[in-house]
Amino acid sequence: MNVREGDAAAHRCTGEPVSWLALERLRLGELPPAERRAVEQHLAACTVCAACLTEIDRPLALPALPATPAPAPFWLRLRAWWSAGHARIWAPAGITAVLALFLLVRPKALDDTRIGGTLAGVKGGGVALSLVRERDGAIDHGATTFAGRDRWKALVTCPAARVVFWDLVVFDGAAATFPLAPAAPIACGNNVPLPGAFRLDGGQPLEVCLLLAADPIDRARVTAHDERATCVIVRPER
């Protein structure tokens, strides 16, 4: 039976249709045994769902991914650059420029509030994170110090007309915690509040980082140097 729309209006599933995801997982051998048995029972009785499974069995040409050659090791690139003669011309100028930059723009680690800016997977502009502190009923936008009794909300600004996945990470040194529960993607805009509130505690400065991505964020892969992070540093009050 063909299950395309048009000639299938007369055919209805005998009960709750088996989802395409379940059918695909059945074919991939990824359904747990109990679910597999239930699906197979349904398919034996329902010609519409069985025909959907047949659709999955049809061969499908998978186009090759565009080639993404791995970059050569750094030392090889450096050797090629040096042997091309660039170093003799540019090395003195480069060293001077680096020294000048270091003197003019020294790292101001814990006084900087913004580290990130744009995020991989989210095209089209900047991303900003601002924190709102509620302390004894008083609301403070852009607060940078915390005490255990404070409640915090995070506001996100990202390019409009995008819907993105998000997560909020608090780094205490290299240790990461996730103070907000995972939720659905957000629609970008100006100062979009992330759902939920959180508390911060501890005796060390904390880095509160926003992650935005076009795809769901896997917490197990989040690191302190995640390129997608836009961070704010907050300090404990003494």
């Binding site: 729309e5 991939l28 995008r162 819907v163 629609a187």
Partner: protein, 160 residues
């Protein structure tokens, strides 16, 4: 076998159902894997990828620059039988393009899972990490939005 070889066909079928044409579906699926591999993620599980493709397809539909092309290129053969309908209404690409403007991100995702992928409410709840009740509330909002579109269409067709 890497994630693209294993799950690529599944995701391509899913993107075709949603977008109604092969070229856009291939673009979406390929860009997902290029981004993932570019970030060093060689492996991912199917539910993660399924959700990622859903969001990317929705963003593709939200982009007004793509809409005319999507409607023009629709291949009815790629839209599988609508086993799950919204009050007897089949949700296709044309309705989807209108509904994404009326629904928030959560509800738009639920709409796709329910009416394009035939996911049960329990499966949607697991996918979105929310309760079944929340899924029910979102589905109710989807129904209201669909009904409003149908009413508007009927009023237009009935107008002299």
């Amino acid at each position: 076998m890497d994630a693209y070889a294993r799950y690529g066909p599944t995701l391509l079928r899913k993107a075709r159902r949603m977008l109604g044409n092969s070229a856009d579906a291939e673009d979406v699926v390929q860009s997902l894997f290029v981004d993932l591999f570019g970030r060093g993620h060689r492996s991912a599980d199917l539910p993660y990828l399924f959700r990622a493709v859903t969001t990317r397809c929705l963003n593709h539909v939200r982009d007004r620059g793509n809409r005319a092309r999507l409607l023009e290129r629709q291949d009815p053969a790629l839209r599988a039988v609508a086993r799950t309908r919204c009050d007897d209404e089949v949700i296709g690409v044309d309705l989807l393009t209108k509904l994404v403007d009326r629904l928030d991100a959560h509800c738009a995702e639920v709409l796709v899972y329910r009416y394009f992928d035939d996911l049960t409410q329990d499966e949607i709840a697991e996918m979105q990490a929310v309760s079944r009740k929340t899924v029910g509330v979102r589905l109710a909002r989807v129904r209201v939005a669909v009904q409003a579109l149908i009413d508007a269409r009927a009023a237009t067709e009935g107008a002299p």
